[in-house]
Symmetry: C2
Subunit: 423 residues, 2 copies
């Protein structure tokens, strides 16, 4: 299997071709979900897939499946994929890489006239980004039974247009019922972080996706004049918020090496130079791939808050506004990625996905694994997002190897089927 090489130039050329659709001046991509540009991107992929001899199906959330038959069509397919929609100031690789790496796998199998045991499919998941329609990853979420179809189709943009309407408008309101058996699912993606490049590793073997807990906090003290108000009697909400920022950072460091803890948003009131702030609103983002540790981090956050309220004579309103459970990826899939990486001899390390991906929902209904490649300076969600061709090729090699391992495995696990939709 280590003799099989993908065509790196062909993959790169396809990436650059797709990047022309919605290209921005700064070298990035703006191709929002279910816009005409998204349609063009989808059409291009579908054409390429058809040219590669695939059959195409589209489900009711517009998810596209390009299928290459295997020796045993009744086996659940080994699937790969990602998304073609982008951020408003997105890059050429986020999502697209996973789709076109999958296409390159199919093209390579064609070149070699290789017949897999189980069928292989490349999926394009609708609206992964959650930019135009919230929430993110909604279409893979409906596929995996996390959301109802009605919920998915009724997601609306800022102008009130729903996903259902827009799918029909661009001709991707498919007939295929939601969900089907998947033997194994792999997703190749740029890391969107700095670790692989910093450590000079070509492949990230993704063992988990982080769980997340998000909180909103409003601290209340007492607004007063900065001149005549003595220090000891102040009830300064910004001082309390500052202590919380440090406490949150401490929680991240204390749960090293993979915990993340961030205060990203803060609003100070009245925000006047000579007035002691009487109120501060801020958000907290806690992440860890181990659910018990994530819960412990939340406890530590609450404990720190209580201490700081007492110390500063403040009061608080706190709300956990959402919780995503961590996703441990399937042992066999992770193993397949590991083996393919070793066979190709790529430098590598185990890694945790800090961001959410369609793979996180697929993991609920199929054995799932992810493959990371580095991106320049760890930058993503940014028009300057970039990756080296050798990384792009390496990730695709590993993807091919892992998929073949699963597609030919004697007892390829049939993933628990996702809920059939009611419609």
């Amino acid at each position: 299997m280590s003799n099989i090489r993908i065509n790196g130039d062909r993959l790169w050329d396809s990436l650059m071709e797709m990047a022309k659709i919605g290209a921005t001046d700064k070298g990035g991509v703006c191709r929002l979900a279910l816009t005409d540009l998204d349609r063009q991107g989808r059409d291009l992929f579908v054409q390429w897939a058809k040219d590669a001899g695939c059959t195409i199906t589209v489900d009711k959330m517009g998810n596209i499946f390009a299928r290459r038959e295997g020796r045993n069509p009744s086996l659940p397919p080994v699937m790969t994929g990602s998304h073609l929609d982008s951020q408003p100031t997105g890059g050429r690789f986020d999502g697209v890489y996973g789709v076109l790496a999958g296409l390159e796998v199919l093209r390579t199998l064609n070149d070699l006239n290789y017949e897999t045991e189980a069928p292989v499919e490349v999926a394009v998941w609708t609206n992964e980004e959650g930019s135009r329609f919230a929430p993110a990853m909604v279409a893979s979420g409906v596929f995996a039974g996390v959301f109802d179809l009605d919920y998915g189709l009724s997601r609306a943009d800022q102008d009130g247009r729903t996903m259902g309407q827009e799918l029909a408008r661009i001709g991707y309101a498919g007939d295929q019922p939601m969900g089907k058996p998947v033997g194994a699912y792999f997703e190749a993606h740029i890391e969107q972080g700095p670790i692989l490049e910093a450590e000079d590793k070509t492949i990230g073997i993704v063992t988990h996706a982080q769980g997340q807990r998000w909180f909103e906090v409003t601290l209340t003290g007492q607004e007063a004049h900065a001149g005549p108000t003595p220090m000891p009697i102040r009830r300064d909400a910004l001082l309390g918020a500052a202590r919380m920022v440090q406490a949150v950072n401490r929680i991240g460091l204390d749960n090293a090496p993979v915990a993340c803890a961030t205060v990203g948003l803060m609003q100070v009131y009245p925000n006047s130079r000579n007035v002691i702030p009487g109120r501060v609103f801020f958000t907290v983002d806690l992440r860890h791939p181990d659910d018990a540790v994530l819960a412990k981090m939340a406890d530590e956050f609450h404990a720190a808050l209580n201490e700081i309220l007492a110390e500063g004579k403040l009061t608080a309103e706190v709300e956990q506004i959402f919780y995503y459970a961590p996703v441990p990826f399937d042992e066999d899939c992770v193993g397949a990625v590991r083996a393919a990486t070793a066979a190709a001899g790529f430098s590598n390390r185990d890694i945790v996905s800090g961001a959410g991906h369609d793979a996180c929902y697929l993991a609920k209904v199929a054995p799932t694994g992810m493959i990371f490649i580095p991106c320049i300076d760890g930058i993503s969600h940014n028009e300057v997002e970039d990756a080296k061709p050798e990384w792009v090729s390496a990730g695709c090699e590993v993807l091919l190897g892992a998929m073949l391992e699963r597609a030919n495995a004697g007892g390829a696990t049939v993933g628990a089927g996702s809920k059939a939709d009611a419609a």
Copy 2:
């Protein structure tokens, strides 16, 4: 002298009468500088002063002087005063108390047919608040030679109307040249802070006004995704800003009991829930009545900043955007306030003015002292600003006693004359 009582009811009634001009629904006052409401307030004061037998002069910045002759008209007057203009959501006492307490002093002297050695005057300083026209205290500032007359007259509001134009419009563009000798100046004011009420003291003997140093800081780190970015490599500008908020608070506490140190304004960028803040702008307000200590506080601020930059791998732009030197009030004037307070038997304590007043500029050209009375909950610059009648009366009693002491003192110090204006 302790036999002389002011008429507390008359003073309170005048305060409430004046408060009708620009009265707000919440019981406060909106009477912005040089508006028609300001004119009405001025006209009412002038009428009251004339009814009390005063001669009225108005200088080129619209400062009004109501004069009651003394036995020796060639002596420089003992003056008191404050301001009649208010904050947009101001109260009934801030500034007005000092003006009308002065008027009550004159009315009381009339009641008793009392002839002072030196003349006594009540001043109304134009635009103390700096709300409509910046900066604050500009007209007493021109009187004291801190600003040129041209500067003062050219201050413009948000619609481009200048103080010169508005003074002419409301009929208070006076002829009197700027500045004149003042034998002693006293100003009675509500504390605008919580100390006197909290300690159950009726009179604050003001020994100093705080000096102030204001800084603007922009901290820069690195914006990055909150999920995939490991804690140890982050360059979180908000974490740095949080450490600075604590450091500034520490500087205030370390220079107790009278130092104040405040971060009032903070702006976080990009202020997104799952993005590590790459940039934060914030302001620092340091205050102390001792110039050397104030300078030390600034040094401590710079030292803390340098430490925090290194610790957080951040860079900063810092600018001291202004500096007001502390004002030590005149020993003899403070002594006169102290003696009058003791003679009347009022509970009292020495106190530092945390806010700026016209008295701060008058202190440059005349021996000056201030008298504080408590205000409810220490609240000012707020429509609910309030004070008890017994405090209002007490402060006026002390004002009368202190003014008489200076007005009758054998060697009443002739204050260094302020610069005659060039016009």
